[in-house]
């Protein structure tokens, strides 16, 4: 039975092929093998959302995903949230509202909110709350993050 596998996947639009141990988590693959360190190690067991990346558009916790399970998938990390390297509207809004303090939760939150807004550009407050429930932030108290996401979801409306 194989303890090493050949993994082929797309990461932020780029095709990669690596031989990896079968027990490599997607998070360790992204951070250690690809040196994309934007996705964070928080709890490492699925509780906090700091490691959230998009796998074929859906949010996933990279710490409890086997890299092997992502064969053939298209993965987006915080490094690829915009094409050109500029800021995503969510990032700009978080910046304006001071929705990041220590910043450790921020990459995961940006990815989770990106996935939400790509599926529905104008989510209701309850849909935003539900999606943000996937991510723990120990600093901000969430209100500034919510204000930022609401502003992107419904430009011009009071937040």
């Amino acid at each position: 039975m194989p303890t090493e596998i050949t993994l082929r996947l797309q990461i932020n639009g780029e095709q990669v092929r690596r031989i990896i141990p079968a027990n490599r988590s997607l998070l360790d693959f992204i951070r250690e093998d690809l040196r994309l360190t934007g996705s964070k190690h928080g709890c490492d067991v699925g509780d906090c959302g700091a490691c959230t990346v998009l796998v074929d558009g859906a949010p996933q916790l990279a710490c409890i995903t086997l890299a092997a399970e992502c064969e053939g998938a298209a993965i987006r990390t915080i490094e690829g949230v915009t094409d050109g390297g500029g800021l995503h509207p969510i990032q700009e809004a978080l910046h304006r509202h001071v929705g990041a303090q220590c910043g450790y939760c921020t990459p995961g939150i940006v990815m989770a909110m990106t996935s939400l807004l790509e599926a529905d550009p104008h989510p209701s407050d309850s849909a935003i709350n539900e999606a943000l429930g996937s991510n723990i932030c120990r600093c901000t108290g969430y209100t500034k993050i919510l204000a930022a996401v609401r502003e992107v979801a419904r430009p011009g409306s009071p937040s």
Binding site: G46, Q60, L61, I64, E130, I136
Partner: protein
């Protein structure tokens, strides 16, 4: 950083290959991995081969067969919850999928993984160093139960949100192995010891959850938890208010096997559930309060039915 233990990995492309691999000792199925993979990081299992379901399209998706809902075991909770037919015909199942963990975890975890979810306990779902400091427990690496030191076994709590509603909808589980296909009522799957609570054979893979046409009356799901997201339930409740004035309830998170009660008059259901429920010290919340809340949760569920 919590590394995974060493294991090998296979992703079979056919059911025959799947059944052959599932008969290998030390193997375990990985569906969404949201229960299994944290537990492997905590060294709760010693499996040496993980078998992925990802290539088996036939295990994914929702179909209707003769009025029954047939849900492939590897269908994500999100896909079940978003299915219009589920919402229209079996709304308590949709509601139960949507109280699990978080929306991100619902996009990863599967209905099959939920039905097969490990039992949970304050003294068990902990990192290995934490558990070593109390000498482990009966369910893993030890010889005493810290919940009931004079008890007869393990009382770890059944904690799968969808199971009470699936139970009241009369769900049937379709298992497959090298020996063929076998169907079991979900209500008959679960046993009373938290170490051996699943009644299927080790090599039987759950293929589908078959939910018959919903019974007359209404079924309602409720979950009692500390926060509106992430947390497992302190109590999981589903009730069925029947048109003839009777009722049934399944209450879970009490022990390895969910508790089923019926009452000829639905008004008596909450008292019957309260009497039958014996919360254990498997959670960080007082057992007296949780017992009280059994009555309250059944009443609340009925009020919503």
């Amino acid at each position: 950083m919590l590394p995974f233990p060493k294991f090998s990995y296979e992703a079979p492309g056919t059911l025959d290959e799947l059944f052959t691999l599932a008969s290998v000792s030390g193997s375990r199925i990985v569906a969404g991995g949201t229960d299994l993979l944290p537990s492997l990081k905590h060294r709760l299992f010693q499996d040496t081969l993980l078998i992925s379901l990802r290539r088996l399209r036939e295990l994914r998706g929702v179909t209707i067969e003769g009025g029954a809902l047939v849900i492939g075991a590897n269908t994500t909770l999100r896909d079940v919850a978003r299915d219009d037919r589920v919402a229209a015909g079996w709304p308590a199942l949709r509601d139960a999928c949507r109280t699990i963990a978080t929306s991100t975890i619902q996009a990863m975890g599967t209905l099959g993984g939920n039905v097969m979810l490990d039992t949970r306990c304050l003294y068990y779902n902990q990192p290995d160093g934490w558990r070593a400091s109390i000498g482990g427990c009966l369910k893993a690496d030890g010889s005493v139960c810290h919940v009931a030191p004079n008890g007869a076994g393990c009382y770890a709590a059944h904690s799968a949100d969808t199971v009470p509603a699936l139970w009241l909808y009369g769900a049937i589980l379709r298992f497959g192995s090298e020996r063929g296909i076998r169907e079991v009522a979900l209500a008959d799957l679960y046993g009373t010891d938290g170490r051996t609570w699943l009644g299927n054979a080790r090599d039987e893979v759950l293929l589908a959850i078959v939910v018959p046409k919903a019974p007359a009356g209404s079924v309602v799901h409720r979950k009692l938890r500390a926060r509106g997201a992430i947390d497992y339930g302190m109590l999981l409740t589903a009730v069925h208010r029947r048109p003839d004035g009777s009722g049934a309830a399944v209450v879970s998170a009490l022990g390895p096997r969910p508790v089923f009660v019926e009452a000829e008059r639905v008004e008596d259901l909450a008292a019957a559930a309260h009497k039958a429920a014996t919360p254990m010290r498997t959670h960080a919340y007082g057992v007296g309060w949780r017992k009280h809340m059994v009555r309250v949760e059944v009443e609340r569920a009925l009020a919503g039915s």
